[in-house]
Symmetry: none
Subunit: 210 residues, 2 copies
DNA sequence: GCCCGCCTCGGGGATCACCCTGAGCGATCC
DNA sequence: GGATCGCTCAGGGTGATCCCCGAGGCGGGC
């Protein structure tokens, strides 16, 4: 029987969760705001903290970041009405081990708590994909019409410039004249609508072009 | 009925998977090595690729990284005997949407394929935690002795320079003279032991300083 | 054959990046 | 009241970057 601490600013919602979990889990404490929760969670020695993401006084991310470094055994399970990627990624990055939307049923919630307590990670369908996308860096905006406009030679130059090579070094690497490199760089900057090579570096690293 | 491509170097295992999935899924192709799989997957138009992590000729990571950039609709589900964190993280970072150990049962495998095809992510118990740990770890500010040496003003300048601003633009942004910016940049480069602003951009992006 | 895109260079000039020395001002420490 | 540190700015210099002009060769399409 896992010990559960409940953090949510809606008393009625807390009441509902308490009623549904009764008998299967041990509700060792609950709180309606972030600061209060931070102060009281440790003393309650819970196994799992059910955590609303949007809270008065700092939000769920604050609770996780304040407690996890000093108490790495705590398991946080986010439970929110929001299914926005930013919310999911933020709280998972902070160290939560799962994220459920409040549309979940009582039985699934009870099961999810047990799985998190056992060390597993639990997500509502689709939400796990947000985390994996962020992890893999697959925020690639589908069609990159601008990059497609570049000629093969221009892409060669782009890669080297983005690595911090000077024109002279690029010229030596590609066995070309420095003036040729200048021409290519100008074309790249114009086609990508950038104004200097530093923006080009950022542009390339954002798109994982090496 | 999802279209499935099977990549595993053990013919007997492929045979077993095929037998178990028959009727629920459409096995549109299979392969026993990475190079062959890369060449044939596109033509088979699968929804989900079941992928062994350890393969002759490159490994499962190679298959994902070669195909995903040009075909972002493909869903890769890793299926391996290994439950080592390095293997899990590597293939997920490459872009796979799930990871199962081969100890899984036929019914769970069929269910997992459907969930991945539907856009969800699927993990064997405990393995998801590896990914979350690695993900949370990427945010670690990494207390940096060199960065600590920078004065507040120097950090302001660093942030803007790393974004690709010219000295003049930084000066306008901070309401300062261009010469002051030069002084700060020189100090930053010296303290961080870098030689130019290109290295500075890389340094900052590696440490996720915006 | 002609046009067009790509690749390769050149001259010349404006601007930017980086470095050096030096200097005034305010705050803090002792 | 020095000493130190952070912040601000200046002059002067070299090399790198970026742009505008032009030009020749090479291949493919109409």
């Amino acid at each position: 029987m896992a010990r559960v601490f409940l953090v949510d600013d809606h008393a009625l919602f807390r009441s509902g969760v308490r009623a549904e979990l009764e008998g299967h889990h041990d509700i060792v404490g609950e709180s309606g705001d972030a600061g209060d929760a931070i102060a009281r969670i440790i003393g309650s020695k819970p196994d799992v903290i059910l955590l609303d993401v949007h809270l008065p006084g700092g939000g769920g991310v604050e609770v996780v970041t304040r407690l996890l470094p000093s108490h790495p055994d705590l398991r946080f399970l986010a439970l929110s009405v929001s299914d926005a990627p930013e919310d999911v990624i933020a709280v998972i990055r902070a160290g939560a081990r799962g994220y459920l939307t409040k549309s979940i049923g009582a039985a699934e919630l009870a099961d999810a708590i047990d799985r998190v307590a056992a060390g597993d990670a639990v997500f509502s369908p689709r939400l796990a994909g947000f985390v994996l996308d962020a992890f893999a860096g697959t925020i690639a905006p589908a069609a990159d019409a601008e990059y497609d406009q570049l000629t093969p030679r221009e892409r060669d130059v782009l890669r080297l410039i983005a690595r911090g090579y000077t024109y002279k070094e690029v010229a030596r690497e590609l066995v070309l004249g420095v003036k040729t490199i200048e021409t290519h760089v100008s074309a790249v900057l114009r086609k990508l609508q950038l104004s200097n090579r530093h923006e080009l570096t950022r542009w390339a690293t954002d798109r994982r072009i090496l």
